[in-house]
Symmetry: C2
Subunit: 307 residues, 2 copies
């Protein structure tokens, strides 16, 4: 049995219901009040579910230093997804010329110069750099809650579950290798239970990131083989299930890159998890219907939606 691709119809229904508001660019939408009420409820549910982590809140804006991206492997692995920020540094005459071109929707890119900022590709990126600037970590390491930051992926699509900018609610664990991977593995079950309680049938699957090009296929195979990435998949509107959460073990990669050390002298490893806010809200809208007021009472209670 092949499932029908209902993504375009789902997107149209979301817009019709005022849940998504088009902006004119694919994958960039406004979010209506009902959508946001569910999303805030979800974020609070994740916070409550993670309360025993005693995580340190550390929030970053949706931009990071360009140098941070350059120092990572991101541009090797995902050059097609990165967004860089350019700005104007010219004279008044140049500004007038730029404005004239722009107001005609002509090419004004020549007046823009690369800045020292890029869009944040994943909310944990600045966390590793911040922790790298600290003294060596004591036993047990740290757990950081970077919140539900907006992250950017340049992949315009008609799939409402594939946005160019979306909220990735992460938690980051930095500790000795066993602690990090054990934490990651435990959260796969916890995440699955959290989604099940919302009526979402989420199945875990070993996964790989969308690496670029032919060399990327080898990176993906290696990532799968080492089970570094596990996703929770839910049927939304596409022919295949969609990842709504991911649980990642980076081994020593980010710790080494950012100079994160353990006071014990051992090697620090990192793990992170990310719940895709918008995808989970979309999955809920798909399963329970476009009007949250009609959702099962147990689901509304968990999300603390007002009566």
């Amino acid at each position: 049995m092949t499932a029908v691709d209902q993504r375009p119809a789902f997107l149209a229904a979301l817009i019709e219901a005022g849940l998504f508001v088009p902006t004119g660019v694919k994958g960039v939408y406004g979010r209506g009040s009902q959508f946001e009420a569910v999303r805030f409820g979800l974020d609070d549910l994740i916070t409550r579910s993670a309360v025993d982590e005693r995580a340190e809140v550390l929030h970053f804006p949706p931009v990071i230093p360009r140098r941070m991206l350059e120092s990572s492997e991101y541009l090797r692995s995902f050059p097609h997804l990165a967004g860089t920020i350019f700005g104007f540094e010219g004279s008044e005459a140049a500004a007038a010329e730029q404005f004239e071109l722009a107001s005609q929707h002509a090419d004004w890119s020549g007046f823009q110069a690369m800045s020292d900022l890029v869009l944040t590709p994943a909310s944990c990126y600045p966390v590793y750099a911040a922790v790298g600037g600290r003294p060596p970590l004591v036993a047990g390491g740290v757990t950081i809650d970077p919140g539900a930051a907006y992250v950017f992926r340049r992949e315009p699509s008609d799939d409402p579950a594939r946005l160019q900018m979306f909220h990735m609610r992460e938690l980051v664990r930095i500790a000795d290798p066993v602690t990090a991977v054990t934490w990651r593995d435990a959260w796969i079950d916890r995440g699955q239970a959290l989604l099940a309680d919302l009526g979402l049938d989420a199945a875990p699957d070993v996964a790989a990131d969308p690496f670029f090009g032919r060399a990327g296929r080898m990176l993906a195979a290696s990532q799968r083989e080492q089970q570094l990435k596990v996703e929770l998949l839910v049927q939304i509107a596409g022919p295949e299930p969609t990842a709504v959460a991911s649980f990642n073990y980076h081994q020593g990669y980010f710790a080494h890159l950012n100079g994160i050390r353990l006071a014990s002298g051992g090697e620090a490893h990192t793990a992170c998890l990310g719940f895709g806010h918008e995808r989970i809200v979309l999955a809920l809208l798909r399963v329970h219907g476009l009007d949250p007021a009609t959702w099962p009472a147990t689901v509304r209670d968990r999300l603390r939606l007002a009566a």
Copy 2:
């Protein structure tokens, strides 16, 4: 009496206390748990204060279509503050070359092409476009709550109150001219009272936007003369008071630009207000001290900070 510029010392103290976390770029900081607790409390206080507005929640990501910026006057008035988003669209060979240059922190800007997105300069920008796509507004118009969106201003600074990316909590009023301007004027008093209840002595002042260049000086003078922009100023750490909220009347500019119409046939006008989250939190930290646990009980109660 000339006040001393205590901004560098204040920034250092914020970092020392873990309230701000440096990223390596001026004006781009992580926000620690205490800072965020106050900021969330402030956002909730603003929401409660505005409950009688029955505003429609409509949230947008921190990017807008480039075309939206091009169609506005923004690039004429503020070319120096805009951030545009570029991306990679090349081959595997080009990606490898780009990565090589980037990892050496050399110039890889030539591999980046202008995308159809720019960073959001003010959280109300996408609101006008969304309302412009609706049927003509019935009597009374609409009030939109775009929430506390991240907005971008390219102005790197050592002043902790001048960030490149910050939360602007806006409310937008779209209605007939008298309703719009009356709403704006009433909120100047409401905003002043809200800040006074937090122990902030905020004075209103007719202001102007930081228009670019020589022509900008005329625009600023005209804006002042028509009293289109009023700011609430608070002493933070600079020699001069800092604007922490602004109340703007745009007359018919945004309505005309976005095709917003009234069912009555009359001309639609718009007004907006914006509370600068970070600046207000900084003002509170400056006035009440860097440890929110020691703040006056009345202030903590209003912000609903946990005991």
